[in-house]
Symmetry: C2
Subunit: 209 residues, 2 copies
DNA sequence: AACTTGTTGCGCAATTACATA
DNA sequence: ATATGTAATTGCGCAACAAGT
C-alpha cells in the first residue's frame, strides 16, 4: 500500500564535524518535485519479488505503516540520488550518519551557512549531540527500537506459523470433505438399492397374493 | 506527480577523515546490572508479545538465519554495552556511528591503542574509509540492503495475504463440511426409514400368505 | 503544548551465500 | 578443493515522525 517515500536522502555520514563538508559530491538530486506523495494506490500487486531497480535510496521515511510500497518512484522513472552532500547537520556534533533532512533543502545553494541558524533548526531547545540529555534520549530510543523490532519479528514469525497451521488445517478439512463426499455417495447408493428392494418386494407381494 | 521526493538528504559522501573520533560522549549506560536475564530458552514460545527487557544491545550480529534468536548473549548473561566507545574504528576516519564491536572488546582496557594494529584489523587490504573504493563498496551495499529489505517486506506482505486467503478458504471448507454432514445425516435417516419400510412389508407379506 | 514511546527508512559493518578465477 | 570478490542478510544506532500521555 502505500507507496511512499522516496527520495534519496543520504547523508553525510561521517562527516562530522569537519567543516569541509562542502566537498561532498553535491547532490545529484533528480527529483525536482517536492510535493508530497500522491501516493499510490495500489497496494497489492507487487513486483515479481525482485524488481530491479534500487537505484538509490529515497527520503526519510514517510510511509503509512505496514505495506510499504516504496519503489514507486523508480517505477515512475524517478531517479534517485546516490548520496547527497553533507551540509545539513549542525557542525558541533557529528551527525551519526546521514541527516535525512526534511525536504530537499536547497539551503546550501540559497543561504550562506549561518551557523547559528543551522544550530537553531537542528537544535530544538538545546539538544546538543554532546549533551547527556541527548545521550539519554538516544539510548531510550535505541531500546524502543529494539523492542519494536523484536515485536515485529515476533509478529512475522507468528504470521508464518499461522499460515502453516492454516495450510495444515486446510489439508485436514479437505480430507474430511473427501471422506464425507464418499460417505454421501455410498449412502445414496444404498438408498437406491433399498429403493429397488422395496419395489421388488412390492412386486413379489402382489404376485403372491 | 508524485510521489516523490522529499527528503533532503544530504550526504557527504566522502567525508573524510577527521581524526577526532574521541569526542563521542562516552557511554552513560544507565543500566547497572549487566547480567542478562536468564531468559527463556527456546525459540518457540515467545514471550507474550512484549517481553520486557531490552536492556541494551549486544554484539554485532551473528545469528543463524531466520529465527533470529538474538538476546542470546543476554540469556547467557552477557552484558552489553550501551555503545562502545569509538575505539574500534581506525582512527583516521570516524566510524559513522557506534562501533558494534565484535564481542565485548575489552581492548580499550587491555591494550594501548597501537594505531597500526587497529588499522590492520580494520583494514583488510587497504580499505580506507576515505577511499573511493570504500565509497563504492558502501554504495553497492546500500543498494543491496535496500533491495533485500524490499524483498523481505514483500515476503512478509505475501505471507500475510496468504494467511488471510487460507483463513478464508478454511471457512469455506468448514461450511462445505457442514453441508455434507447434514446431507449424510439426512441420507442416513432416509435409509433407516427405508429399512423399516422393508421390514414392515416383509411382515405384511408373511401375514398375507 | 511538551514529552515519551513506538515505528520505520537509512546507512554501516559483520556475516553469510554464491560465483568465479 | 581453494582463495577471492560480490551480492544478500541482518543487527544496530540514528533521525524523522506518528502515537500516546
Amino acid at each position: 500500500m502505500s507507496i511512499s517515500d522516496s527520495p534519496p536522502s543520504t547523508s553525510c555520514i561521517f562527516t562530522p564535524q569537519n567543516p569541509a563538508c562542502t566537498s561532498s559530491v553535491s547532490t545529484l538530486s533528480l527529483n525536482s518535485d517536492s510535493t508530497g506523495p500522491p501516493l499510490n494506490a495500489m497496494a497489492n500487486q507487487m513486483p515479481p519479488m525482485d524488481g530491479g531497480f534500487y537505484g538509490q535510496s529515497m527520503g526519510p521515511q514517510g510511509l503509512p505503516k505496514f505495506p510499504d510500497p516504496r519503489n514507486m518512484e523508480q517505477m515512475m522513472g524517478m531517479g534517485y540520488l546516490p548520496f547527497s552532500s553533507c551540509l545539513t547537520s549542525t557542525n558541533t556534533e557529528q551527525a551519526g550518519q546521514q541527516g535525512h533532512t526534511a525536504q530537499q533543502d536547497f539551503s546550501q545553494f540559497l543561504l550562506p551557512p549561518p551557523a547559528v541558524t543551522l544550530r537553531q533548526s537542528g537544535q530544538k531547545r538545546g539538544i546538543r549531540k554532546d549533551s547527556i540529555e541527548y545521550r539519554l534520549r538516544r539510548e531510550r530510543n535505541n531500546i524502543a527500537v529494539r523492542k519494536s523490532r523484536d515485536k515485529a519479528r515476533r509478529r512475522i514469525h507468528l504470521t508464518q506459523q499461522r499460515a502453516l497451521q492454516l495450510q495444515d488445517e486446510n489439508h485436514r478439512l479437505q480430507l474430511h470433505i473427501q471422506r464425507l463426499s464418499h460417505e454421501v455417495d455410498t449412502l445414496k447408493h444404498y438408498l437406491s438399492q433399498r429403493h429397488l428392494q422395496v419395489k421388488e418386494q412390492d412386486m413379489r407381494g402382489e404376485d403372491n397374493c
